[in-house]
Point group: C2
Chain length 240, copies 2
DNA sequence: TGCGTTCCCGTACCACGTACGAGAATAGTA
DNA sequence: TACTATTCTCGTACGTGGTACGGGAACGCA
């Protein structure tokens, strides 16, 4: 079951998860691999959305029985964490650092945004579960911390900034994706527009009416993201 | 099924949902009410988490049969939207505006944070679904737009700022809640600490090792939120 | 060859959202 | 007062989901 809030606090010991004790020599040889299973799950999520990622469908995609998956991940929640870490691997190798930490931070955010657009389920997957620091995620975090080295921030603040930028990016990309899906359905968009028009006309929401009556700026999502990111990053270096 | 990404774009016409055509005079009288059902769902989510909100449990809580709920909400997704709008009603009446839009915006964010702490499922509920503008949400949005009136922003930018502040608050509160749940389990926290220590000691993550070795600042979540909020809001007024 | 170990996966259970449709309650009409 | 149309209630049932259980198959080693 997909956790919808922050409670529950994840259940698997990270050492058991990420630091596998290599192959023992005895017993039947594994017919599949954690990587292949995770890749199949990612492909499914990319193609049909996160709801398509069920244990049955992932299993059939890799040619395994359903319960075989449980030899590679103790539960579905863990499989989702593996998915997140696997796609984070696409962030390597990152752009080399320039020494300008603001510019480097922006480059990091842009790379994350591109990743999230490639895997539209990623923003929600990040929001819904606690950070799970697999090897790829750790590598990228390490890179981000290196980028922040010239900034006058202590360790905790650096981690905070990284989390903030990631969350900011996830939110904007989620909006962007939702907006795209929404606009793709003319009837839904029309219904929404009709509703907003009736609200604006009811006399109880003058500010909203005015905000909606402003001419829609033809800004691309890219421009909006870049502009807000600049604001946010430039606002970060005001001394504590 | 809980939507986990932004796709799917919600399915109910907002006019049908929010602008009910009052009571028709004919037919059997309703035994329950949308408000009571929503309140029961909210109470359940507050007490046991969002996963406890199932149609069966909500129904038994209000003393109804399961299928009776479908006379008041066409599906579970809609019930979740009703929940969000109902708790947004707790934001009224808001603090009066001072005319200092930055201060007013901060007050708005603090009110939202308090609401989210009271209803820990709210951040994820907001993140996972598209904005659903029920009457209470609209009233609060109207208030926020009024607060932004003195700012030199066009209509679209005001809406953007509101969305940004809400998302920022949701993210920090989600972290805060997750952290609290995590710390509440000594064994989980210990396992994580052990894992991080081993990562820091592996020699491949010097920046992370340094960041973690910094003495933990004894900052309260309140202070952290206030500090980051100040940075963010003060960074907003740099001209576009 | 046998044994211990590891992995594969068919079957089964329970919980979920919700479609269907029969029955009960109500208001308007004759 | 009957009749009827309308509106709501809710028991049953279906399909799908995660996953516990446990028997059997494949492998390394003695």
């Amino acid at each position: 079951m997909v956790r919808d809030d922050g409670s529950g606090a994840g259940g698997v010991d990270p050492q058991k998860l990420w630091q596998s004790p290599q192959q023992p020599r005895k017993g039947r040889k594994p017919a599949f691999s954690r990587e292949a299973i995770t890749a199949a799950a990612v492909a499914l999520a990319d193609a049909e959305g996160i709801d398509a990622v069920t244990m049955r469908r992932v299993a059939s995609q890799v040619g395994a029985g359903v319960m075989s998956l449980y030899s590679y991940a103790p539960d579905k929640e863990t499989l989702l964490r593996l998915m997140v870490d696997q796609v984070n691997g696409e962030l390597s190798p990152p752009d080399p650092l320039t020494g300008d930490w603001r510019a480097d931070l922006k480059a990091i955010a842009h790379a994350q945004r591109a990743l999230m657009l490639r895997h539209p389920w990623l923003p929600a997957a990040l929001f819904n579960r606690r950070w799970s620091l697999g090897p790829n995620t750790l590598a990228f975090l390490e890179h981000a911390l290196a980028a922040l080295r010239p900034a006058a921030l202590d360790g905790g603040a650096k981690l905070e900034v990284f989390s903030l930028i990631t969350g900011f990016t996830a939110r904007l990309v989620a909006d962007e994706i939702a907006q795209a899906a929404f606009s793709a359905s003319p009837e839904l968009a029309a219904a929404e527009a009709r509703y907003l028009a009736s609200v604006a006309a009811d006399g109880h929401h003058p500010e909203l009416a005015e905000a909606l009556s402003a001419p829609a700026r033809p800004l691309t999502p890219d421009a909006t993201f870049a502009r807000l990111l600049d604001r946010m990053v430039d606002g970060l270096d005001a001394g504590s």
